[in-house]
Symmetry: C2
């Protein structure tokens, strides 16, 4: 098909949550991947009015039977030859099992063509800040998914839970990633939003001090009380600091090849940034793998895993993350700016009205103002600005 | 918000069907309007695996109560200040009533600011080729919606049903549109995909000779047998002819101001083109109204209705349709080309295998190959090529 799109024709199945208003889950992932030129088929695991950080939401969940029925509809019409599967929040253990069956079916059918199917798992085990967001019985189901995945994007707490290694510095982080590579046989791992101190210590994920961009649909407001709000207005004026992402593509003996990219943290908390990161990473990785100078054709290599002689900072995964972070920094920076202006106007209006706006009304306005309205920022996604500021560096630690 | 988008910040609520695979209903409308820079909130009226022209589909419908619940979720968080409402297929009379309540609530809240809310209704009454696709009891509910609408996009059969005037030439078409303007108080009407003869006769919509781009989700395969397939493979090789769209913006006394644009018909039937037309028209109309040379500020005029001294061919609606048709011709032309190549490959493979592919398998392959994969064609949406070929002309007939 004639196209000026970034990536070759790419069919993605995205299984995650739908929100009517705002940009998290599949709403974010679909919009971002379509902007990058992907043909995205979306199976929605919940249908909510908005994301849960608003602290109030209405809607319904999709049952495991309904998920399986939709996939069966695709299967009977020969529509399941997906190149990529992206899975995010799934609302029950049964539904995670259904997603596993779907993924394994696609993978099985692609089995004869190495590299023709790639499975990215966002937010495995679904927890943050020292707290599981999902029922305990979902954890083993999520762990089973991981063993099929080509790329996982856990946060610090999830990486600790999966590896059973507490992360407190780069060496323990490297050990945890090593376990993820070797135990779960996951070739690619990215841990986003780490807050490293100057001497490369990593504060525990347990006490809630700073949010680590939890996926906003992680909590289940329809059947249990929401988690502690990650969005208290106090965070609006946090001072700028640094966020680090650490990525790794395993070598053939499942050793980590670690790179890091540091970005200035923005003085605002956004929902859906994990979903945005994952949705940008998939097409950027396809782009990097397709244009990789390696003699091997990575697109036909299982899991697009680079040969052992490729250094960490030269990995396609590192090149992808560099572009992803440059795009996100630009989009989130503009969103922070417009959010600040909207909240100043809100506060001015409230002051003129005698200061009578409730804390709840202000919180709702802040949530709305901090939505990342992707369709207004497509150019920054396609042409990541200031790429040189996000150069990946190899991390060398003894593990 | 800093943006290079086509339209000013525009919040759209789109209420229509979702398909996992392919591009019809809300899947088409959301993707198109996001590509044009709109912030689209999508309430999905069905969740189907694919569109119904595949002749097999799985999934579920959204109940009226679920639709109302999602809207109530938006309302309680102050998220209902939409600029535009686009409504399409709704699966039951109860659900149409729910959509009516939603639309009237948004309209009521926007009441103090003329022109700040615009309601477009796609496929009113849902029928084609002389046949209703919906239960009889939905028709009065759809008619009630129309009285609220600013723009409707009926097909020939729907225009006949609503106006109770059989359309057989330009004069009867003009009379039908006059009735739509005056009886339903709809300021803007567009009738797409008319097949006019050389002497401007319009064949009856009753006998099925050529499909008039019915909305692919119109049929209800989950509770009734699907309508006669509009996509039989025989249509692949129909010879090129002309399709005409007729549009009108009413004068202050509800007289039609008619314009026409003729386009070469493509030798292939596509699903979702009505949805694509509507989704492109909304942002293009906003663009045309915002840049209109009229002394009156149309954006602050109820229904963005031009003053009486604006000629038919100079209407913002005509300017919008010109760009919409130029974009669609480009995208559908490329899709037809790629479809032909894919079907040739399919037929070659079948011939090599001894000609053993079933008619069903070929039909499924054809449906898939004729999907309009919007994310691969965003440039043609943003920069409509060969605009001069789609110049609107005034239609002057005595009515």
């Amino acid at each position: 098909m004639a196209s000026d799109a970034l990536v070759p024709e790419t069919r993605v199945l995205a299984i995650a949550s739908h929100v009517v208003h705002g940009y998290v889950g599949n709403k974010m992932a679909t919009c971002v991947m379509q902007a990058m030129g992907c043909d995205v088929s979306a199976i929605n695991t919940v249908h909510y009015s908005n994301h849960t950080a608003y602290k109030q939401v209405k809607g319904t969940k999709t049952t495991a039977a309904e998920l399986e029925q939709l996939y069966e509809g695709l299967r009977q019409s020969n529509l399941t030859n997906f190149d990529v599967l992206l899975t995010g929040y799934v609302p029950s253990a049964d539904a995670v099992r259904a997603v596993g069956k779907i993924g394994r079916d696609i993978k099985f059918n692609a089995g004869t063509k190495p590299g023709s199917f790639f499975w990215a798992v966002l937010d495995p085990v679904m927890g943050d800040n020292g707290k599981l967001y999902i029922p305990e019985d979902e954890v083993p189901e999520y762990k089973r998914l991981l063993r099929e995945a080509d790329l996982i994007l856990p946060n610090q707490f999830e990486a600790e839970t999966l590896s059973e290694i507490p992360i407190h510095d780069l060496a323990s982080l490297a050990r945890a990633i090593h376990v993820l590579h070797s135990t779960y046989r996951v070739p690619h791992v990215i841990i986003t939003s780490l807050r490293l101190t100057r001497d490369n210590q990593i504060p525990s994920s347990r006490p809630v001090t700073q949010p680590h961009t939890p996926s906003a649909e992680a909590a289940d407001p329809l059947s249990s009380p929401p988690p502690p709000p990650p969005h208290s207005p106090a965070h609006e004026h946090d001072q700028v600091e640094t966020l680090t992402i650490i990525g790794s593509t395993a070598t053939s003996d499942f050793k980590p090849r670690l790179f890091r990219i540091d970005t200035p943290a923005l003085p605002l908390f956004f929902s859906g940034t994990g979903d945005m990161f994952a949705a940008l990473t998939v097409p950027r990785l396809i782009e990097a793998v397709s244009t990789s100078p390696s003699e091997q054709n990575l697109r036909n290599t299982p899991s697009w895993r680079s040969p052992d002689d490729v250094a960490a900072e030269d990995l396609p995964l590192a090149a992808a993350c560099q572009k992803v972070l440059a795009s996100m920094q630009a989009v989130l920076g503009k969103t922070a700016e417009s959010c600040r202006a909207k909240m100043d106007a809100f506060d001015d209006a409230a002051a003129r009205a005698g200061g009578g706006e409730s804390e709840t009304k202000r919180h709702l306005a802040l949530m709305n103002a901090s939505e990342v309205v992707v369709p207004r920022h497509v150019r920054d996604l396609l042409e990541p600005p200031h790429l040189e500021r996000f150069r990946p560096r190899a991390v060398t630690v003894a593990i």
